[in-house]
């Protein structure tokens, strides 16, 4: 494979990123939606405006902007949108409304005796996991699991869904840094919400600033180090 672009370069839709040497030439488009590339005539193209990451033989484009696309087993934070007789409709910032069945939250659920509004009302925030999603139907959520359920305390911060990966960092490096330096309980939801539970307001404010910094500088090298310096200057060493 001959790579034509530099690592961390800005690429546009339709830019040729690399030429494959092996394989059969086919004039049919083969797409790799997760990597935001497609292959045509043994050439690799980008399909979004974003930054290209090259690792060994792997090419990956991270878009500058994107919407959240649900995937099975993702942890998401959703807002209760509307209430039906047997289920809630949850806004998870995706092209599809998610469904949380009443039987998932209430044991021995019976639509005649139970009123869903008594458990979760519109506007409530929940931490949930995507139980089923297969593109043909709306995603189904579940709140069964450790730490899942209604969010009762703390602060929920909104970030761009395309920056979630950066906030977690390589093998969770950024996430570990943020939680160890601040001592807060941080939950990063895949759909671009971050839930913070801190001891006091000042730490929360510093942490939000740090998250905004990461969001803006997502493509800069050595960002983890910069965030470390930022947190230490505001909060002091260790903690």
């Amino acid at each position: 494979m001959k790579v034509l672009v530099a690592d961390r370069q800005l690429v546009r839709p339709g830019d040729c990123l690399a030429i494959l040497e092996e394989g059969i030439i086919s004039n049919e488009i083969k797409r790799y939606p997760d990597k935001h590339i497609y292959v045509l005539d043994n050439k690799v193209y980008s399909d979004v405006l974003g930054i290209v990451y090259i690792e060994d033989k792997d090419i990956n484009v991270i878009p500058l902007e994107s919407v959240y696309y649900p995937r099975k087993d993702d942890t998401v934070i959703g807002i209760v949108d509307s209430i039906g007789v047997t289920s809630w409709s949850i806004d998870i910032r995706a092209p599809y409304k998610a469904i949380l069945p009443g039987s998932d939250v209430i044991e021995g659920f019976n639509p005649i005796t139970h009123n869903l509004r008594n458990y979760l009302d519109t506007g409530d925030l929940i931490l949930a996991k995507i139980a089923i999603f297969d593109r043909t139907r709306d995603p189904m959520l579940t709140t069964k699991g450790k730490g899942l359920g209604k969010i009762l305390e703390g602060v929920v911060v909104e970030i761009k869904p395309s920056k979630v990966a950066r906030l977690v960092g390589k093998k969770g490096s950024m996430y570990n840094l943020l939680s160890s330096k601040s001592g807060c309980d941080i939950t990063i939801a895949q759909n671009g919400y971050v839930w913070l539970k801190c001891k006091d307001e000042y730490v929360t404010k510093v942490l939000i600033e740090a998250i905004r910094l990461i969001e803006l500088k997502a493509h800069i090298r050595g960002l983890t180090e910069e965030v470390r310096v930022f947190l230490e200057s505001k909060l002091g060493e260790g903690k």
Partner: protein, 242 residues
């Protein structure tokens, strides 16, 4: 209106351009905050603003498709975009242009990635001076790229016309009104595929080939400006921090 003006004098056009010269092109990305993606494109005095929303839930539900996203395009001219007030109600012409622009964009956007969703594109012509559909098409494709919607390539539009027997690139209102032919083209700049082509008037097959060649050259130049605009947006993200 009085008689037809002289459109070519001493080899120069009515606005002083050479036949193969574009009007000054200006492009800005991400100009609207509420939209997922937006672009403002100017070809001389023609200004088009495009906004993209989505992929989002397709409403009303019955328009959604089981295997791909629906692309909805609205091309609209602002009442103040022309010298005489244009009624804001969509005209026959605007409905047609919405359709041809939608079909041009459908061939580049990977709609199959978002089944049952919708991608809404709004193109508003703020000022009209010829070539509004091509300006609108360029703006729409850039707004789609700005929204991070997966697509094969961008689409750049440009029109070629024939005035006083001379082929000219990127015609303006006067040249369109009094010229002999108008050929708007939408081209994918990397692959060179044509996704929009209309012809109003008469061209010989030789002239047609020459006109297409001119369009390709024009697209190349506009694409360069578009690339710069995309870089600017990216660098702006850094400057906000400092």
């Amino acid at each position: 209106m009085s008689g037809k003006p002289v459109l070519i004098r001493d080899g120069l056009r009515i606005d002083g351009r050479k036949p193969e010269e574009l009007r000054p092109v200006r492009i800005a990305l991400g100009v609207l905050k509420n939209a997922n993606g937006s672009a403002l494109v100017e070809y001389g005095n023609t200004k088009a603003l495009a906004a993209v929303y989505g992929p989002r839930e397709a409403l009303p539900k019955h328009i959604s498709l089981p295997d791909r996203a629906v692309l909805r395009v609205r091309y609209h001219m602002a009442p103040f975009s022309t010298t005489e007030r244009k009624s804001p109600a969509p005209s026959r012409r605007e409905i047609e242009l919405s359709k041809v622009i939608r079909e041009a964009l459908e061939s580049v956007v990977f709609t199959s990635q978002f089944p049952r969703a919708s991608i809404d594109v709004f193109i508003e012509i703020l000022q009209a001076d010829g070539g509004t559909r091509t300006t609108g098409l360029t703006a729409a494709s850039l707004a789609l790229a700005d929204a991070g919607i997966p697509m094969r390539d961008l689409v750049i539009g440009v029109a070629v016309g024939k005035v006083d027997g001379v082929l000219v690139l990127d015609i303006n209102e006067l040249e369109d009104e009094y010229g002999e032919a108008d050929l708007p083209v939408g081209i994918m700049p990397n692959t060179g595929e044509i996704v929009l082509l209309q012809l109003n008037g008469v061209l010989t097959s030789g002239e047609f080939k020459q006109a297409l060649d001119m369009a390709y050259k024009g697209v190349e130049q506009i694409y360069k400006t578009a690339k710069e605009a995309m870089y600017r947006k990216y660098y702006k993200m850094f400057e906000e921090v400092r």
